[in-house]
């Protein structure tokens, strides 16, 4: 498919997802979808929760943290003992504790940062029970939290925001499992592998070369990898591997599915707060950012790679084809790259380390904006609402009113929580990158020196603190230093935003709704969209400009001006 056709198909597909998947999500979280009641009931009984009892934000957050703590411990144990566990046809040994810690946290936090090569490190059991399990549940938790935060805006003076266990279970069994099932079938039909059988050894009698072809339960993991904006692939090559992403159709469906739920959540927002225009405004802000970054990345990747040109190598055709699958091409790879980095997915069908500096800038800065356009499943929605609170506060002051968002007064507590939620990520990225470039353990990581090496480190922490998981490459990450600091970044990036967002929801839920009038600051028009975009770009720009200047910007400028 040509680039233009892909974009058009993506827009049409997402419009349908927005409308129909959005409506379905509303029905699921309002409890109107009940065809799996027979499954739900025993689960609630097992969890010991009363599905009709709503929780305060504190209880909701506590449940989320408790659930995360238990499941991350289980995954850790699976990984460090996988040598003794079943479904290990390659007889792979136990994962080292530091790597197991980093990986368990990575999948728990919906990051899917991988300091390992999947096919040579993880047994099938670890892949399925340790990692894929989290791919479902971390997405379900994110989705549930986003809905809980939306309830905070929609509730009128009722301080509860839903039930964590019910939200998580419903999100899993009504949304993620059925969609992954359908998507997985299509992937299998297109040629993705899915087997519990071990690797195949092929001996070429003509050349005398023996090859081991890794196989495994790939296709269905692939489905939830994209749908849940996880990004952690079965194989090291991720979506560039033909068994993970066999055809142009699966490549397109990958992009569509990783964008689908984050986009549909804006519909959920509009519906649940009772004003669709509010949801559309948020969607518009997301779309403009996304569109701009796709434009930048595709344009950059469509240029000749300056480093290659500098080396005196000429090749046929245009565009930076180094590190890209010829079946996808330069611009479409850039589209995939931006889709994946701006949804906190992190799956990749090309090598980001080989992007032009400006293409790499688009990828890293897309994450630095806080993963809000449209962001990860659930996390994108609740994070952009934090930005919206700040935009509303500043905008409200400029019109002389105590600011309100959807009729809820924005006061000191809300500003504080939104401020923490928005700024914890840049803090984690900058401080950990500063630490890495100061310590020997950190500076030995990157394969390159100078600005590119700096970008490799900066990218690693940006990706992990944003729970993205995409790798720029060129960084030796499986060291105790990067395993531990990376895990810290991921935990801060997840819970440092999730908990303030829930606290905000609780505080908003308890507030009465002020009726809108002519003097009310409107949050459903282009002016607000502009203000929201301004806040997102300025916060990202002000915090990361110096770091970007020392990384991709100076690298680009040393090849001459980009513009």
């Amino acid at each position: 498919m040509s680039f233009a056709l892909t974009v058009i198909a993506l827009v049409v597909g997402l419009a349908l997802c927005w409308r129909f998947l959005g409506a379905y999500l509303v029905a699921v979280y309002e409890g109107r979808v009940r065809f799996l009641r027979f499954l739900e009931r025993p689960i609630y009984r097992l969890l010991g929760t009363n599905p009709d009892a709503e929780q305060s934000w504190q209880r909701y957050a506590l449940s989320a943290v408790m659930f995360s703590g238990v499941t991350v411990a289980v995954t850790y144990i699976f990984l460090v003992t996988q040598g003794h566990l079943p479904f290990n046809p390659q007889h792979l040994g136990n994962v080292t504790p530091a790597l197991a810690f980093n990986t368990a946290v990575s999948f728990l936090t919906n990051t899917n940062w991988q300091n390992y090569g999947g096919e040579t490190t993880m047994s099938y059991f670890s892949q399925m029970m340790g990692l894929e399990f989290h791919q479902f549940l971390s997405a379900a938790v994110g989705l549930g939290v986003a809905v809980a935060v939306i309830r905070g805006f929609a509730n009128r003076g009722k301080p509860t925001i839903g039930n964590f266990w019910v939200d998580t279970v419903r999100g899993t069994i009504y949304v993620l499992l059925p969609l992954s099932f359908v998507l997985g079938i299509i992937f299998v039909a297109q040629g993705a592998v899915d087997t519990l059988g071990g690797p195949v050894t092929i001996h070429n009698s003509l050349t005398g070369v023996t090859q081991v072809i890794a196989l495994g339960p790939v296709a269905f993991m692939e489905a939830i990898k994209q749908l849940g904006t996880n990004g952690g692939g079965f194989f090291n090559a991720n979506s560039a591997h033909p068994f993970e992403n066999p055809t142009g159709l699966t490549n397109f469906l990958s992009m569509l599915s990783l964008l689908s739920i984050p986009v549909a959540l804006t519909y959920v927002f509009g519906r649940m707060v009772g004003k669709m225009r509010e949801g559309v405004a948020v969607l518009l802000a997301m779309t403009i950012l996304f569109g701009a970054w796709v434009g930048l990345a595709s344009y950059a990747e469509h240029q000749t790679n300056p480093a290659v040109a500098h080396a005196g190598v000429t090749y046929a055709g245009v565009g930076n084809t180094e590190g890209k699958e010829t079946r996808f091409g330069d611009t479409s790879s850039a589209l995939f790259g931006v889709s994946s980095t701006m949804t906190s997915t992190g799956s990749a069908d090309s090598a980001y380390d080989s992007y032009t500096p400006m293409g790499g800038f688009a990828l890293i800065s897309g994450m630095m904006l806080g993963e809000v356009s449209p962001g990860g499943v659930g996390s994108g929605m609740y994070t952009i609402l934090l930005f919206a609170i700040i935009a509303v506060f500043i905008g409200g002051l400029m019109i002389g009113r105590t600011p309100e968002y959807l009729g809820k007064k924005i006061q000191a507590r809300e500003v504080k929580l939104a401020g923490i939620g928005v700024l914890v990520m840049p803090l984690a990225v900058l401080i950990l990158t500063g630490l890495a470039v100061s310590l020997h353990a950190g500076t030995v990581g990157p394969l390159n020196g100078g600005p590119h090496g700096f970008t490799e480190i900066l990218y690693a922490f940006t990706s992990q603190a944003n729970n993205n998981g995409s790798a720029f490459g060129g960084l030796t990450g499986n060291t105790p230093f990067y395993n531990v600091t990376g895990a810290i970044a991921m935990l801060i990036g997840r819970f440092g935003v999730l908990i303030p967002a829930l606290a905000l929801a609780g505080s908003l839920a308890a507030k009465p709704v002020v009726p809108a009038g002519l003097g009310t600051f409107r949050t459903d028009n282009t002016m607000f969209v502009g203000l929201l975009l301004g806040v997102i770009v300025i916060v990202g720009g002000l915090t990361f400009f110096p770091a970007l200047a020392l990384g991709p910007l100076v690298e680009q400028l040393s090849h001459g001006r980009f513009w």
Partner: protein, 689 residues
């Protein structure tokens, strides 16, 4: 209700230039001098730590000062000096705002200079005591020429009181025991008669004391919005700290170590110093602007709430209409001519000193040139009573009456007269228009009807239209019947009205509006208004009102001009807008500062970064210093704006936002590019960099 004598209600607030709020030029020399001294005095770390943003600058200056010691250079010293100036400018802005309040407080304090009081003992004897010794419940005597020693209620007597010390209004007001005008304020002067006052306030808590505290800003508490904004600014400051601190390891990794002085300079440029420096000045100046208009807010919270008000409850009389109804038309009935009605109506009103009565005499003279006649002394004035609901005079054997339609008709029928058939339609027609019909009878003969019209204040409809544009609903409160109320409401252009209002229905209305989440503002003066004033989010009590009303409200209007509620709302909005606009401006400024400083920092190592030096600044040092100087000067440049408030035109939220985003957002991005470039050119010209 209102007891102000001869106070024209439609006088513009700007026209007043006396009282507490002596108008001072923004840069009064005396205040400037004091503010400069205070700016230095505020360098005390205990004062600085209260403002997190400026405290960072303060600490940064000290750090640079240490570098001045260990490795002095022109550059380091210049940066240090300008950082110190940044702190001083911020102190100066606050001191300026406070200075204006202090000057007013001094005027008030002079009034409080110890007066002696004549305390009335239980046995009726008097003893001279100092006003300081008066306790709540004491009774004091005041006679003509005495200064009332403290706040109190008149228990005996009536007196005219000069309240100009408080209100600036030179016309004396009447205060009398009982009713709604029994309250007197300490510091005012009795002009005539003798009154006995029961003291209602302890020393130190009188109205005057509270006023002094308020204008001085001594016990100023941060308002909710100010707290929220301070948090946002603190969060931004905390974030920029690691942003600049990590530049040191980043720079080392790149092989371009960054000096601590430059890091401090960058930090100061990035943190929102502009708004941080001006924030408290804006708050103090907002209160000051209210005082300029002779309104005292008991808390900053009330001023802020005023900006949020969505419903205004306005008393019809005195706010929407001129105080009194005026005769506007004579309507004859039967075969009587209009001038005959005028003639008899004038006779009926000759001895009637009420404003309505006077207006009939005036109208008769205007329309038919009927002069006031000398009717000698052989007449008996029949005053209006609640039972007869008529007034008039008996002159010889003529019994002339005017009054409510029903009463006059009954009276005429009782003495054998006949009611003309066209009376009822005439009366109805006048009532429908919102006017009051006054039927005139000469003995048993009904001659006609006088239309008493409520005169809607000039320009009030336009103000309500402005309110509507801002999204504020206006509700007229009146004791009139619904028919009359509807007609006046229509003429004045209010959104709604409450007719036949009682204190209870008023209270209900406020609660109903508040249940819907709206903030309600109202004015009131009587004791029976007190509960409603307390219930309303913004309650403006008239100074002429009772102490109960003043206690219940959260603002007091010294001019007792209820229309001023609208001004209060505008000042509240202006206060918030000023804060929001300068916050946006402050953050937007950072863009240009980055483009000045970041290339300067690393250009030695990475030549290509000079492409980001889009201002083409002369050198690294001049770039950093220019940014710091701009950052300091912009504070000074914005002090007048902070004190005066940004320009505010009542308009819808959307157009206000558009305007302010353009001026302070986009302008805030563009302006520093120009400013920094100009400063760089000047620095280059000095040759030192």
């Amino acid at each position: 209700m209102t007891t102000i004598l001869e106070t024209p209600h439609d006088e513009t607030p700007q026209a007043r230039a006396h009282g507490v709020a002596q108008k001072r030029s923004l840069f009064d020399r005396e205040i400037l001098r004091q503010a400069m001294i205070d700016a230095v005095r505020k360098l005390d770390p205990r004062v600085q730590v209260r403002n997190p943003v400026m405290f960072v600058v303060f600490v940064g200056t000290i750090v640079c000062l240490c570098y001045c010691w260990s490795q002095p250079s022109v550059f380091v010293i210049s940066i240090t000096v300008w950082l110190a100036l940044t702190v001083l400018f911020a102190n100066f802005a606050e001191a300026m705002a406070e200075g204006r309040g202090k000057a007013q407080a001094d005027t008030l304090r002079r009034m409080r200079s110890d007066t002696s009081a004549r305390r009335l003992n239980d046995d009726g004897s008097e003893s001279a005591v100092s006003a300081n010794e008066l306790r709540k419940g004491d009774r004091v005597v005041c006679e003509a020429g005495d200064v009332i020693p403290s706040d109190g209620e008149i228990r005996e007597g009536v007196a005219s009181v000069d309240e100009s010390a408080i209100t600036g209004e030179s016309a004396p007001v009447i205060r009398e025991s009982g009713g709604d005008r029994s309250a007197v304020t300490g510091g005012t002067t009795v002009l005539s008669d003798r009154i006995v006052i029961e003291i209602t306030a302890e020393r130190g808590q009188t109205f005057l004391d509270r006023m002094i505290g308020l204008v001085e800003g001594a016990n100023r508490q941060k308002t909710p919005n100010e707290i929220a904004l301070t948090i946002l600014l603190a969060v931004l400051t905390i974030v920029f700290l690691p942003v600049v601190v990590v530049l040191q390891p980043f720079g080392r990794f790149a092989g371009a170590p960054v000096s601590v002085v430059v890091i401090v300079a960058l930090l100061v440029c990035l943190i929102p110093t502009t708004i941080g420096a001006l924030l408290s000045a804006i708050g103090i100046a907002g209160m000051d602007r209210l005082v300029q208009r002779n309104v005292l807010a008991m808390s900053g919270r009330a001023v802020e709430a005023a900006g949020d008000v969505q419903t205004l409850l306005l008393d019809k009389t005195g706010t929407i209409t001129l105080g009194n109804r005026m005769a506007s038309r004579f309507v004859p009935v039967g075969d009587v001519t209009e001038s005959e009605v005028a003639d008899i109506a004038q006779l009926a009103s000759l001895a009637d000193e009420t404003p309505e009565g006077r207006s009939i005499v005036v109208l008769a003279k205007e329309r038919f040139n009927i002069r006031e006649r000398e009717i000698g002394h052989d007449f008996v004035f029949v005053p209006f009573t609640a039972t007869t609901r008529m007034s008039g005079l008996d002159w010889g054997d003529r019994h002339i009456r005017k009054g409510a339609a029903d009463s006059v008709r009954k009276w005429v029928e009782s003495i054998g007269g006949v009611v003309p058939p066209d009376l009822a339609p005439a009366v109805d027609e006048i009532a429908r228009q919102g006017s009051t019909p006054l039927v005139v009878a000469d003995g048993a003969r009904i001659v006609g009807v006088v239309e008493l019209k409520d005169i809607v204040k000039h320009g009030i409809a336009e103000r309500f239209a402005e309110m509507r544009a801002m999204g504020i609903r206006t509700i007229m409160i009146t004791g009139d019947n619904p028919l009359t109320a509807a007609a006046i409401a229509q003429e004045a252009g209010v959104d709604d009205f409450l007719a036949e209002a009682t204190p209870e229905t008023k209270m209900q209305l406020i609660k109903k509006e508040q249940e819907g989440g709206k903030l309600v503002a109202m004015t009131g003066d009587g004791t029976n208004d007190a509960p409603a004033l307390a219930q309303a989010d913004v309650g403006v009590a008239m100074n002429s009102g009772t102490n109960a009303a003043k206690e219940a409200g959260n603002m007091v209007d010294l001019d007792s001009n209820p229309t001023k509620l609208i001004d209060v709302v505008e000042i509240g909005k202006q206060l918030l807008i000023t804060r929001g606009a300068l916050t946006t401006f402050s953050i937007a400024n950072d863009v240009a500062k980055y483009f000045a400083i970041i290339p300067a920092l690393f250009v030695a190592t990475y030549r290509p970064l000079n492409a980001l030096n889009i201002m083409h600044l002369h050198s690294s040092q001049s770039a950093v210093l220019s940014a710091v100087i701009f950052n300091a000067l912009v504070i000074v440049a914005l002090i007048p704006l902070a004190l005066r408030g940004v320009k505010f035109r009542p308009s819808s939220a959307a157009s206000l936002l558009r305007r302010n985003v353009w001026i302070y957002g986009v302008g805030g991005i563009v302006l520093p590019f120009l400013g920094i470039k100009i400063i760089d050119l000047i620095l280059t010209a000095t040759g030192a960099y």
